[in-house]
């Protein structure tokens, strides 16, 4: 009798709490995978300047080198997910949240970031700066 009542009570609790817990965790909504996009027009950025842009729902960083070439990297700091910025005065990428530094190629060089930033390919096509993932 005790076993029957205990099992019934347990099943009732499970039937109440399971849907609640599933409800609290949001469903996986796969975002449209953007593997390539135009980040701007060639010449919008001055040499030794950078800008953050949205790339497939994530912030990315486009840097114009002093020789006119481009670098594109993920702008999400590998430490705790803040959005980094390019510091022309230091010629480095800086995360203001915990004072982490990366070089222009995204290599972590000082502060707490444990890994380099992901890098993307950049091509200039008909005056557009096109950034693509691998």
């Amino acid at each position: 009798m005790n076993w029957f009542l205990g099992t019934s009570a347990g099943a009732m609790c499970a039937s109440v709490f399971y849907p609640v817990i599933r409800y609290l965790v949001p469903p996986d909504i796969p975002e449209a995978q953007t593997s390539q996009m135009v980040a701007g027009r060639d010449g919008d950025l001055k040499p030794n300047e950078g800008k953050v842009f949205a790339f497939g729902g994530q912030p990315a960083l486009l840097i114009r080198d002093e020789d006119g070439g481009y670098q594109a990297l993920s702008a999400t700091c590998t430490h705790l997910n803040c959005t980094v910025q390019y510091r022309g005065d230091l010629k480095q990428i800086w995360c203001a949240c915990h004072n982490g530094f990366y070089d222009r190629n995204g290599k972590n060089i000082s502060g707490p970031p444990p890994r380099p930033l992901d890098s993307y390919k950049v091509h200039v096509v008909d005056g557009d700066v096109v950034v693509s993932k691998s």
Partner: protein, 366 residues
């Protein structure tokens, strides 16, 4: 029937149904110990008073606030600039939140150093520690609600910290953010947490905490007990009602004055609207009570013994909280001269010193 008679009739009606005179008698019989550390007894009442201010001003803010990423910032801006006394209500809410956490820290550390957690008050300590966690949860969830840049990145980092906890991290991160990123879904979720879930939990835990305080009375520090015993004199006390409550009320009036002064002289800033695709601005930092954790994560090197520095840091902080919660079960028979008691007292001072120095470093000009 004269007005006086009518009032007496109403009083009699209420008395029969509620029994107010019994409650007053109970308050008169309740004694508060009087000794050199009695001042710290006022911290609990002060925390409760400031929590009451939070509830009152929070309800008023709800009347204008709109919990969506498209409207939250604008609704707070409207409240601050167009609604009569809107700036005052929001500033008092923000300042009072900070004072509340500060007084709560005083309350907790005084209970710790005066050994108020010892038998039979273990559950009073535990419910108090849970209340502290809940208040910090209020601070963290409320910080995002104006949807400004500072709040956006504080939430980004704070939720990421939860996400780095081994095993449960990913689940916790999605649960908190309402998705993989900090978005409008996070704002709506934090709003629900701030105005419904945390208040409901606080009501239950606060009720239990007050019940335990009422049941066991105020704790007398072991050193004071030992001194009184040695001197052969019984410890003095005075009634809760009216003596203690009136002194409490003086503190509350002073706190209200301080809050009004702070709100009028330093209205709480709104900042700039959050842009999920902007870089984190220079000088970004969390609220002061999260400062020591922020600074710890900032100072740790990228790798320690093959592990990522921040993961070890987060584990160490979690372990620290677990030890703090378990204090009554680790320092079981605190008395002057006991080795464990002395170790815990030294540990407590070191923890306090570390928190103070790390917090100061956050505000130290670089």
């Amino acid at each position: 029937m004269t007005t006086r008679e009518r009032l007496a009739a109403v009083q009699e009606w209420v008395e029969v149904r509620v029994g107010i005179s019994q409650l007053i008698e109970m308050g008169r019989e309740k004694k508060v110990p009087l000794h050199r550390h009695s001042f710290w007894y006022y911290m609990g009442g002060m925390t409760l008073f400031l929590f009451g201010i939070q509830v009152g001003t929070g309800i008023l803010l709800l009347l204008y606030y709109r919990p969506s990423s498209g409207e939250a910032f604008e609704s707070v801006q409207f409240l601050m600039t167009r609604v009569p006394f809107g700036w005052l209500i929001r500033s008092i809410h923000s300042w009072s939140a900070n004072l509340l956490v500060f007084v709560l820290f005083l309350h907790m550390f005084s209970a710790f150093f005066l050994k108020a957690f010892r038998k039979p008050r273990e559950l009073t300590w535990l419910t108090g520690a849970v209340l502290l966690a809940l208040m910090m949860g209020f601070g963290f969830s409320g910080y995002l609600l104006p949807w400004n840049t500072l709040a956006f990145f504080a939430t980004q980092v704070g939720t990421e910290v939860a996400g780095r906890v081994p095993v449960v991290g990913e689940f916790a991160l999605r649960l908190l953010r309402g998705g993989d990123q900090v978005t409008g879904a996070t704002l709506t979720r934090f709003y629900g947490i701030h105005v419904a879930i945390l208040p409901a939990l606080t009501t239950v835990i606060l009720g239990a905490h007050l019940l335990f305080v009422q049941k066991h009375g105020m704790s007398v520090p072991p050193q004071v007990e030992a001194d009184a015993e040695r001197a052969g004199k019984p410890l003095g006390s005075y009634p809760f009602l009216p003596n203690f409550l009136l002194r409490d009320a003086i503190g509350w009036c002073a706190a209200l004055g301080v809050l009004a002064g702070l709100a009028a002289l330093f209205p709480w800033e709104l900042g700039e609207k959050a842009d999920p695709f902007a870089s984190a601005p220079a000088g970004i930092r969390p609220e002061w009570y999260f400062g020591w954790m922020f600074q710890t994560l900032k100072m740790l090197p990228p790798h320690i013994l093959g592990f990522e520095g921040e993961v070890l840091g987060i584990l160490a902080i979690t372990l620290g909280f677990i030890i703090w919660f378990a204090v009554p079960f680790l320092d079981r028979t605190p008395r002057p001269g006991n080795r464990v008691t002395r170790a815990f007292a030294v540990g407590g001072w070191l923890a306090l010193l570390y928190m103070a120095v790390a917090t100061a470093m956050v505000y130290w000009p670089q």
